[in-house]
């Protein structure tokens, strides 16, 4: 941490390492580069020049249709979902003070999945697809609330939260399998594709619906950088610093649900993003929540976009769901973490 970039005025005061700013700029460039490549590669190759030209002129060519209406929303969707899941994972890891926490572990993914699958299997024929995200958010909230209440015994301890989370996840998994097994075959296939996590068929309407959740939560979180940083030092120290630990944790938990559940509602259960991105972020920038948050979000976006790009192009004409690739990268990474850590 050599050079600091100091901002100090009436509203905010922060000291940001210049190197971190450079990292963020580089990541933003990478995100845009992946975006352009994703727009150009696929079943039909479109030159990057053509894409840029189409973007600024309104021609009605086939290439414009493919890039703008089919690939563009899909790419943006993966970026948003990646960012949301990664920041949700970062929040949870910081809250539980355990590097192995993620939305999958704490029951968010399980709750959202169970609710969404139940909806797809039993209600979507009468109510349509519109209410799916709300249902899924509701499911995630109830699962997390259940986990939180059951793990409460004179406060929440990280390990108890993880264990109870595992239990509730298993219960949600049982509900999910039951709903799939009990529903007619046509919906069970839809449900199953959804469960794997795929950005296939994303459209601008989905993007518009998802974006506000993420755009509001992320900046809001940055306001709590100090409290969250202090919270990571341990209960006693942060209580000594005048932070109400339990209410801060509850707040962090709620925001992590608000980030992850809508993302899961739209694209399904993509695992491991929330686990990996924060870890890589910790390697490349100074460990302060204010820096980790944007970097993890950008890394998460890159990860899901890359996974979707690979799944969409490498196995043509098959379209392998992004969730499969994220797991294929994520599980070995998890094992690597296991190898590094002492238990």
């Amino acid at each position: 941490m050599s050079k600091l970039w100091i901002i100090r005025n009436r509203l905010i005061s922060a000291a940001i390492p210049v190197s971190a700013v450079a990292v963020m700029c580089a990541l933003i460039v990478v995100v845009f580069a992946i975006m352009l490549i994703s727009l150009s590669v696929g079943n039909q190759f479109i030159g990057i020049g053509q894409i840029l030209f189409d973007m600024f002129s309104r021609s009605d060519t086939l290439s414009e249709f493919i890039a703008q209406s089919l690939r563009f929303p899909r790419v943006v969707m993966s970026a948003i979902v990646g960012a949301a899941l990664a920041s949700s994972g970062l929040l949870l890891q910081s809250m539980i003070r355990n590097p192995l926490a993620s939305p999958d572990v704490i029951g968010i993914t399980g709750g959202a999945s169970a609710a969404a699958i139940t909806y797809l299997s039993f209600f979507s024929s009468t109510l349509g697809i519109f209410w799916l995200p709300f249902f899924s958010i509701l499911g995630a909230f109830s699962a997390v609330l259940l986990v939180y209440c059951l793990a409460w015994r004179n406060g929440i301890t990280p390990m108890r939260l993880i264990l109870v989370g595992m239990g509730i996840s298993a219960l949600m998994g049982a509900i999910t399998t039951f709903a799939i097994a009990a529903s007619p075959l046509s919906t069970s296939i839809t449900a199953y594709i959804w469960l794997t996590g795929s950005v296939y068929g994303a459209n601008w309407k989905d993007v518009q619906a998802l974006l506000p959740w993420v755009c509001v939560s992320l900046p809001f979180l940055l306001l709590f950088t100090r409290q969250i940083n202090a919270q990571e030092l341990g209960d006693q120290i942060s209580t000594g610093l005048g932070i109400s630990v339990q209410s801060l944790r509850l707040g962090m938990l709620i925001i992590s649900v608000v980030l992850a559940a809508p993302a899961i509602a739209y694209v399904g259960a993509i695992g491991f993003v929330g686990l990996i991105a924060p870890h890589i972020a910790r390697r490349i920038v100074f460990r302060s929540f204010g820096l980790l948050l944007p970097v993890s979000a950008l890394l998460g976006a890159c990860l899901v976009m890359l996974a979707d790009l690979v799944g969409r192009t490498v196995f043509l004409p098959l379209d392998v769901p992004a969730g499969v690739f994220v797991s294929a990268i994520g599980a070995p990474f998890f094992i690597y973490l296991l190898y590094r850590q002492r238990f």
């Binding site: 192995l100 999958d104 059951l150 793990a151 015994r153 301890t157 390990m159 108890r160 264990l163 109870v164 595992m166 239990g167 509730i168 298993a170 219960l171 998994g173 049982a174 509900i175 399998t177 039951f178 799939i180 097994a181 009990a182 075959l185 069970s188 296939i189 199953y192 594709i193 469960l195 794997t196 795929s198 695992g271 491991f272 098959l318 392998v320 769901p321 969730g323 499969v324 994220v326 797991s327 294929a328 994520g330 599980a331 070995p332 998890f334 094992i335 296991l338 190898y339 590094r340 850590q341 002492r342 238990f343």
Partner: protein
């Protein structure tokens, strides 16, 4: 063996017999107990009662019993090996591995016989279990309980993701696989039971032979080594038995969770932590509990059947959470 333990054994055997006949008699098509009895003594090929019992009910009851016993013993051994009261076979990743290989092979050839599916599932379970165990050795501290649990989580999610990938790409085999994945004891033939029965007996017998050594191992690695035990050998043997028994269970009935978690705790309440009686009693109570779950599953959402794996999860999760809240070592 103390008098108390003797009575515990006698009551377990009685309960097993009762549940066995109950399972044969009950269902959407109830059969009087008399007919159940007669179907064994004087089988009449023209009586519908007798046919129902000897074909469908008998095989599913045997499968439930065998699977329950295997899972329970596997759970006892696993809790002993990891010294973790929350351990259960699904943690070794065997379920996910078996499911993955079944789905993989079904996607290549649509017509696989029940017998070959069994071996494929067994192979998958062993692969995943071996992988988890191998990863548990990685790193500085060697094989530690927490590492096994965590590597199990990672390998499970990896196999689950690959399974989902295959299923999404080739949707033909989906429906038949889904019910199997949810865990079910119906529709398995007695032939399938016969194929795995020798191995189950072998593994169970080995587990019982190991039980004095397990008691020693539980006093801690250092003490066990000081007493002259080859702890690595015992741990490897236990892991093999865990994977073998859990693999048998998964190959017969798919993904049935929590039996391996609940039963050992239940039995421990009666016998304490002596594995010489804990292992056989867990086998008995595992069989009883899963047969009971199967009976309940036939009625809950009649005329449909509730997959038995769903039922055991609903029974098991509250218990798991109770244990997680109660435990002192990990909170």
């Amino acid at each position: 063996m103390s008098t108390k333990t003797k009575w515990v054994f006698i009551s377990a055997f009685t309960a097993l017999a009762a549940v066995f006949f109950l399972s044969l008699a009950s269902g959407q098509y109830p059969v009087p107990l008399e007919a159940v009895w007669h179907s064994f003594l004087a089988y009449d090929p023209h009586s519908i009662d007798h046919i129902v019992i000897q074909t469908t009910r008998l095989s599913r009851t045997f499968v439930a019993g065998l699977v329950g016993a295997s899972l329970a013993v596997s759970g006892v051994l696993m809790q002993a090996l990891t010294r973790n009261p929350l351990a259960a076979p699904s943690i070794f990743g065997v379920n996910a591995g078996a499911v993955f290989f079944i789905v993989l092979c079904s996607s290549f050839s649509a017509t696989l016989s029940a017998g070959s599916l069994l071996w494929i599932a067994f192979f998958g379970a062993t692969m995943a279990g071996g992988l988890v165990y191998g990863i548990g050795f990685l790193g500085r501290d060697g094989l530690s309980p927490v590492k096994i649990v965590l590597s199990g989580v990672a390998i499970s999610s990896l196999f689950v993701a690959f399974t989902q990938g295959i299923l999404v790409l080739g949707q033909e085999g989906l429906d038949s696989v889904l019910f199997w994945m949810a865990g079910s004891v119906s529709g398995r033939s007695l032939d399938a039971v016969g194929q795995v029965l020798p191995y189950t007996c072998l593994f169970m017998f080995a587990a019982i032979l190991c039980s004095p050594h397990i008691n020693v191992l539980l006093s801690g690695d250092d003490i066990a080594k000081g007493l002259g035990q080859n702890t690595l050998l015992i741990k490897t043997l236990l892991s093999t038995l865990i994977i073998g028994l859990a693999g048998i269970a998964v190959s017969l009935a798919g993904n049935i969770g929590f039996i391996g978690l609940i039963v050992p705790h239940m039995v421990r309440a009666f016998t304490g932590n002596d594995h010489r009686s804990l292992i056989p009693l867990s086998a008995l109570w595992g069989a009883i509990l899963l047969m009971l779950a199967d009976i309940i599953g036939r009625f809950v959402i009649a005329p449909e059947e509730l997959p038995i794996g769903v039922l055991t999860a609903i029974l098991g999760v509250p218990f798991f959470i109770y244990l997680a809240r109660k435990g002192k070592s990990h909170v």
